[in-house]
């Protein structure tokens, strides 16, 4: 039995999921991850490389990968695609100037073969800012309705207040679980 088969077996037994968080720099990925895990968010620096967090939620073991979104790091995103069950795409809803950038990066990710089976959760983050666009506006700007290749959902949230983070993750887990854990 090869290593990969063993890994796959282990994954099923432990009800383990691998989530990949991506998005432009400054979107709030690391803040979401830490807030979700109940950690202090006031000392977070821009991510040079990546963070990984393993946590238990609803009986699942989640391996969450948070990869830096600076321009110079985006070419490394592909190194993290392998065996991703859920893709969390984080958007700074107040950053109108880079929405088009954001749409392009997302649409090229969705063409990746290795992400083909992943469920997509879009977090329209920073909803607490007065200038934030609504999740409907983000949905339109990112042309989410054109996505036919992945299960997706968009949720407006705020990493600073914590609003809707749980709702988003719960939707994601349910969708993934329905796909990969019900067959056995």
């Amino acid at each position: 039995m090869g290593l990969l088969t063993i890994l796959k077996k282990m994954k099923q037994k432990e009800r383990e999921m691998r989530l990949l968080m991506l998005g432009l720099d400054n979107a709030g990925k690391t803040t979401i991850l830490k807030k979700f895990n109940g950690e202090d968010v006031s000392t977070i620096s821009p991510t040079l490389g990546f963070n990984i967090k393993t946590l238990e939620h609803k009986g699942f073991k989640l391996n969450i990968w948070d990869v830096g979104g600076q321009k110079s790091l985006r070419s490394y995103w592909r190194n993290y695609f392998e065996s991703t069950d859920g893709l969390v795409w984080v958007v700074d809803s107040a950053d109108r100037l880079r929405l088009e950038d954001c749409r392009k990066e997302l649409s090229s990710l969705l063409l990746e073969e290795r992400l083909a089976g992943a469920t997509l959760l879009v977090f329209a983050n920073k909803q607490d800012l007065p200038g934030a666009l609504s999740k409907e506006a983000i949905q339109e700007a990112l042309a989410l309705d054109d996505i036919k290749s992945h299960h997706w959902c968009i949720i407006g949230c705020s990493a600073v207040t914590g609003k809707n983070l749980l709702a988003g993750v719960d939707w994601l887990l349910d969708d993934i679980a329905a796909r990969i854990f019900t067959t056995d």
Partner: protein
């Protein structure tokens, strides 16, 4: 815990002869000293274990990489079946190597990590190249994929430069959300008070020869296309995003500073995390010294820790060589720092 254990022991020995007591105390002290020495030794060892680990990592990683490269090069001239099998083997090995890297990242420096990621990327690219060349059937799969590409990315046909971007943004912006925005100004002085910018997301764009004073605590500050300006701002509770800024002076307290495409600019900074630069040249940093009457209150509103200022800890995302400092930013020498600020 330890003290408690000692205490209970102490009570047990009372009543025994004084000599016994002293004897036991001495012994205990000796033991404590020995344990302490042991602890120190362990700490030292674990430090060198970290170093050893990183050495073990690079030698294992490199050996593994070399063996994958060998596999890949053995593909040239081989027949289809052999190539298929060899590629399969190379892929599995590459994935294992990736897993090894993931498991090792806790003790690797960012630099080592990046190099390893680069190496993995090269392996993946060259095996994809070989596959495409040697196994034309797979090529068919690639073609199928690029068809999908056409379908999904149909919109980008209208993909002409920047101009479309801004029109698109305008279309998208609904009336209900209000952003506090100052743009397209030349040679003016902009002064905003706390009420106007309090907890707002403030945007400054296309400003030339301007003086900007933001007396208050915005939630976040975004500035782009700033030329020859002096921008002073009260404490920003989250991030400051700077893009395309030149010949300017900025003075800001904030949680994060993200500087892009910026040249010849001085930043007087109070920052509670770390600043970054990307695609920048000639950016100088010095501690924040600017002050205005309500600064103290605004600091409180922002929630920033006033005692924590990492103004000189700057990461250059284009310069990750360990040990050598980035040529793209400097600390402004004390003698050259600006000391009188006009309100």
């Amino acid at each position: 815990m330890e003290a408690m254990a000692e205490h209970s022991q102490e009570t047990r020995v009372t009543g025994e002869s004084g000599a016994d007591k002293i004897q036991e105390r001495l012994q205990r002290r000796h033991q404590a000293r020995a344990e302490d020495a042991e602890r120190k030794k362990e700490a030292k060892e674990s430090r060198s274990v970290a170093e050893e680990k990183s050495e073990y990592f690079s030698s294992t990683f490199n050996a593994e990489r070399a063996s994958i490269e060998e596999l890949l090069s053995s593909c040239s001239g081989a027949d289809r079946a052999v190539v298929t099998q060899t590629l399969e083997e190379a892929t599995v090995k590459t994935l294992q190597l990736q897993k090894f890297l993931n498991d090792s990242m806790l003790f690797l420096t960012q630099y080592e990590l990046r190099r390893a990621q680069d190496a993995l990327q090269k392996l993946l690219t060259s095996s994809a190249d070989i596959r495409e060349e040697a196994l034309p059937k797979k090529k068919f799969a690639f073609r199928a994929r690029s068809k999908a590409t056409d379908k999904v990315s149909a919109p980008p046909v209208t993909d002409t430069p920047a101009v479309t971007d801004s029109t698109k943004v305008d279309v998208v912006a609904p009336a209900e959300s209000v952003q506090c925005c100052f743009s397209n100004m030349d040679n003016v002085c902009v002064i905003k008070t706390a009420e106007e910018i309090h907890k707002q997301d403030v945007l400054l764009t296309h400003l030339t020869n301007c003086k900007v004073r933001l007396f208050g605590s915005p939630s976040t500050l975004h500035m782009t296309h700033i030329d020859n300006c002096e921008i002073l701002c009260g404490p920003v509770s989250s991030s400051v995003f700077v893009d395309h800024c030149r010949n300017s002076t900025l003075a800001i307290p904030c949680q994060q500073l993200r500087t892009h495409n910026t040249t010849d600019t001085q930043v007087y900074l109070h920052i509670t995390s770390r600043a970054i630069v990307e695609d920048c040249r000639g950016v100088g940093f010095a501690p924040f010294t600017f002050s205005y009457p309500t600064l103290d209150e605004d600091f409180i509103v922002s929630g920033l820790d006033r005692d924590r200022n990492n103004w000189s800890q700057v990461d250059d995302f284009n310069w990750l060589a360990a040990g050598t400092p980035s040529p793209n930013w400097t600390v402004i020498p004390e003698a050259d720092r600006k000391t009188n600020w006009e309100l």
